[in-house]
């Protein structure tokens, strides 16, 4: 399909507000933060309930006979989607579980180091810290990253850190690197192929945190060829919360075990060890089938093109309203999430020392939410584009933020009694 025929913000086609009826949004509520917890269409919930009810009709038959083939079918569908082998995939609840699965399985030795970027996700960072706490002499090599950076600069910063570590010549070694495909806050699409190739050239294992990847950018695992990869289907693929997929190439499988060991340990192999996580409701994982079906109506290209263009144009529109700028000048570093600078006069204003004030204010007064965060000395907000949004939604959000920040700034101008100066 030629790009000009794909839906855009000016020609949304099947997307925009007409999609709202396919979802669960109450009247007056607009979802600007799809990136955090995702949401899903009714059709996907129906699919989830189909699986849920099938289990209840005969729980023994379901668990003992029908569940594994159903999960295998989902893995096959995801394998086609991501260009890999279904036997290299395991369904898990979320990225946090996927990261813990790999990191807590690896047999870290004294002198091993784990490389991560300062922009990595907090749960991943904490898991890495846990590994260091629970092993002898395992250290973190952190690459300080302040966006905006070009793709080239990102690769350069990481490679520089690797070389600096090598130059220490102290018999320690960087064993594994945790790399975001699309970071959380700020949300930036990283040059993932270049990073992976570069790190592997130094014999460093590459674990791609693709929490935000599937459904937002094309994922071709054969092409990227990471050592490990995790992605949440319940973010951008539109499945129900609690559905993620972990990629472990065959050569590593014998060393990777679930966070919860069960009856197939050492007797079943990777597939069986990961096919059953104990008694739970598997319908959220199986809802991936419904999500893929829903998306097929429109095609991945159409969905990703629309959400990407909307993020770019919507972000710019908001920046114009706020009199600020978007974080990255490189459009290809924007997936479906855009970071817009907030014109806050005092970044040390006590009300924004924690997220609570803004969360409450946005939800209670305006019935919407977009996360805000400090990066590189400025405050930003991250806005998620989606097929149920249009350009005028971004315009409204821009005006809401304008009002919220104006109020904060007026307090700064008047002088405030902080009592809690940093």
């Amino acid at each position: 399909m030629t790009p000009s025929l794909l839906p855009t913000p000016t020609h949304p086609g099947p997307f925009g507000h007409k999609q709202r009826k396919n979802f669960f949004f109450p009247e007056g509520f607009t979802q600007f933060n799809h990136g955090s917890y995702g949401t899903f269409p009714r059709a996907v919930q129906d699919n989830m309930m189909k699986w849920h009810n099938q289990a209840e009709e005969n729980p023994d038959r379901w668990v003992r006979l029908d569940l594994r083939p159903a999960l295998t079918q989902v893995r096959s569908q995801l394998a086609s989607f991501m260009n890999c082998d279904k036997n290299e995939l395991a369904l898990v609840q979320n990225t946090t579980v996927g990261v813990n699965t790999v990191l807590r399985s690896l047999d870290f030795q004294p002198g091993d180091c784990i490389l991560q970027l300062s922009t990595g996700y907090v749960s991943v960072d904490k898991t890495v810290h846990y590994i260091c706490d629970s092993h002898k002499n395992v250290q973190i090599v952190e690459v300080p990253i302040t966006m905006p950076l070009s793709d080239h600069e990102i690769v350069y910063q990481v490679e520089k850190a690797v070389q600096q570590h090598l130059a220490k010549n102290d018999s320690s070694r960087i064993r594994i690197a945790m790399i975001d495909w699309i970071s959380s806050v700020p949300a930036v699409v990283h040059p993932i192929k270049a990073l992976t190739d570069m790190l592997k050239s130094y014999n460093i294992l590459v674990f791609i945190d693709g929490a935000h990847a599937i459904g937002q950018v094309p994922v071709d695992l054969s092409y990227i060829n990471p050592d490990f990869f995790i992605t949440n289907c319940h973010k951008w693929l539109l499945s129900v919360r609690g559905s993620a997929v972990l990629y472990v190439p065959k050569k590593y499988q014998s060393g990777i075990h679930p966070t919860a060991i069960q009856g197939d340990y050492k007797t079943g192999g990777f597939e069986l060890e990961f096919s059953w996580n104990g008694t739970m409701d598997y319908s959220t994982m199986l809802s991936v089938e419904g999500a893929l079906e829903f998306r097929k109506q429109y095609g991945e290209e159409a969905i990703m093109h629309y959400t990407h263009r909307l993020a770019v144009e919507g972000g710019q529109l908001m920046a114009d309203i706020l009199g600020t700028n978007v974080l990255t000048p490189y459009e290809h570093q924007v997936g479906s999430m855009v970071n817009v600078r907030l014109p806050i006069k005092d970044v040390n204003h006590p009300k924004i020392a924690t997220p609570d004030y803004l969360i409450k204010h946005l939800l209670d007064k305006y019935n919407l939410f977009a996360p805000s965060y400090l990066h590189g000395g400025y405050f930003w907000t991250r806005v998620s584009s989606q097929i149920y949004l249009e350009l005028k939604d971004f315009e409204r959000l821009g005006n809401v933020w304008k009002e919220v920040i104006a109020e904060l700034n007026s307090e700064t101008d008047r002088g405030y009694d902080d009592g809690t100066s940093q």
Partner: protein, 419 residues
């Protein structure tokens, strides 16, 4: 508290028995005899689950960032009341397997530590212990061999003998942790868990009670039991949706216990670490509150008394039909699950050896019922779960089904045997 004689029984089911079927999701012609494996839940609990699910969707940020925490906290408070412990000693997890891994993989086992377990323990727990022994230096298992039937006193004696035998080794090792079933899986036996906890703690051993089958099947008072750790599945006998379990960690141990998946709240304390398991659908956990509501209509006494009496009387009825016996002669060792010997003459029946799924397939396809068959002490048994939606007539029907299955199996051997 009502006298036992006023509570529902198999002869006088009151609100229970087939009258309950309409409250559940069973299709016509299907009877659930294996509640113990995966549980099931009333329609009202499913409706509530869907409502929790929709609520999250109406405003995911409001739910995930704000209301979820207070809802889960309220749930732990309600469970604290139910289990007679403090809410801040409880964590909500997906299932017993996850709870067991949380404890066993958090404890910092040192070389020379030993883990005591029973031969009748659950396979996933066994495997978790095996994993720990594989990945740590000189951590080994000390096993208590158990064959039923055995009285509570004799079981306790066996444990004492095992501990004493280990002490006699005088090899510098120490039993650090003991894992004890409250109600084992197969065979399903109600253990003298209070006495076991007292004895083992008296020996300086940490006790992890695997109560997968306890909540909703027996009264649980964690203050009276005072284990070091305890796990139970709400989705088994409490009627919540699958993927809802409760982990108890005594305050004195909380600092060293971390979730199987570390999150952003690592090192912020037990409460914060376990309050959030990453993005998932929390409606299964929230359904616990609706399960408690459903049960409150009848009262725990009524439910537990009916299901227990039905298991005992139903088990006896099946044993009579089969011409065999139940595994344990002691009523107090049966809760809601009863083990009945199957009159399969050839323990090493070739059909069962060739096709381990033979009985299961037969039961699904021909009779549309299922109870697990298992081997214990050189004999075949089946485990039947009593529930409020069952009556004595169901047990009689099941007994006759098993008679047919066993008669056919026994006939198969005769025709296939070579002289």
């Amino acid at each position: 508290m009502t006298h036992t004689k006023d509570l529902p029984t198999p002869a006088n089911p009151g609100p229970f028995g087939h009258a309950q079927r309409k409250n559940f999701l069973f299709p016509e012609g299907y009877t659930q005899f294996n509640h113990g494996s995966f549980g099931t839940f009333p329609k009202s609990v499913q409706d509530a689950m869907i409502e929790w699910h929709q609520r999250a969707e109406r405003n995911p940020d409001l739910w995930m960032r704000r209301d979820l925490y207070s809802s889960l906290k309220q749930l732990r408070t309600d469970l604290g009341d139910f289990l007679n412990c403090s809410a801040d000693e409880l964590a909500l997890v997906t299932n017993t397997t996850q709870g067991a891994n949380t404890i066993i993989r958090s404890l910092d086992f040192q070389p020379g530590d030993r883990i005591l377990q029973f031969s009748t323990g659950y396979v996933s727990v066994d495997k978790t212990v095996e994993y720990v022994c594989d990945t740590l230096d000189d951590v080994k298992i000390v096993q208590v061999p158990v064959t039923y039937p055995i009285s509570d006193e004799d079981l306790l004696k066996k444990v004492e003998e095992t501990v004493e035998a280990h002490r006699q080794l005088k090899d510098g090792s120490r039993i650090r942790l003991a894992i004890v079933d409250w109600i084992s899986s197969v065979p399903s036996i109600l253990h003298p868990v209070h006495k076991l906890v007292d004895y083992l703690q008296g020996e300086g051993i940490l006790v992890f009670v695997d109560g997968a089958h306890s909540i909703g099947q027996v009264p649980v008072d964690l203050t009276a039991l005072h284990p070091d750790f305890y796990i139970t599945n709400a989705h088994k006998w409490l009627f919540s949706v699958r993927g809802s379990a409760v982990l108890y960690v005594a305050k004195r141990h909380q600092a060293k216990i971390h979730p199987t998946s570390i999150t952003g709240d690592y090192k912020k304390g037990f409460d914060a670490e376990f309050a959030w398991s990453g993005t998932q659908d929390y409606s299964s956990l929230m359904s616990i509150s609706d399960a408690l509501k459903f049960r409150k209509q009848y009262g725990e006494d009524a439910i537990i008394n009916y299901t227990h009496r039905l298991a005992v009387e139903g088990g006896a009825a099946i044993a009579k039909i089969l011409g065999t016996n139940t595994l344990t002669p002691d009523d107090h060792q049966v809760a809601n699950m009863v083990n009945i010997r199957l009159p399969i003459h050839d323990f090493d029946h070739p059909t069962l050896k060739e096709n381990p799924n033979y009985i299961m397939d037969l039961m699904f396809d021909k009779f549309n019922v299922f109870t697990p068959a298992f081997k214990h002490d050189g004999k075949w048994w089946t485990r039947v779960s009593a529930q409020i939606y069952l009556e004595l007539s169901d047990f009689v029907r099941l007994g006759n089904i098993w008679k047919e299955v066993c008669d056919d199996l026994n006939a198969l051997v005769l025709t296939n045997s070579r002289q």
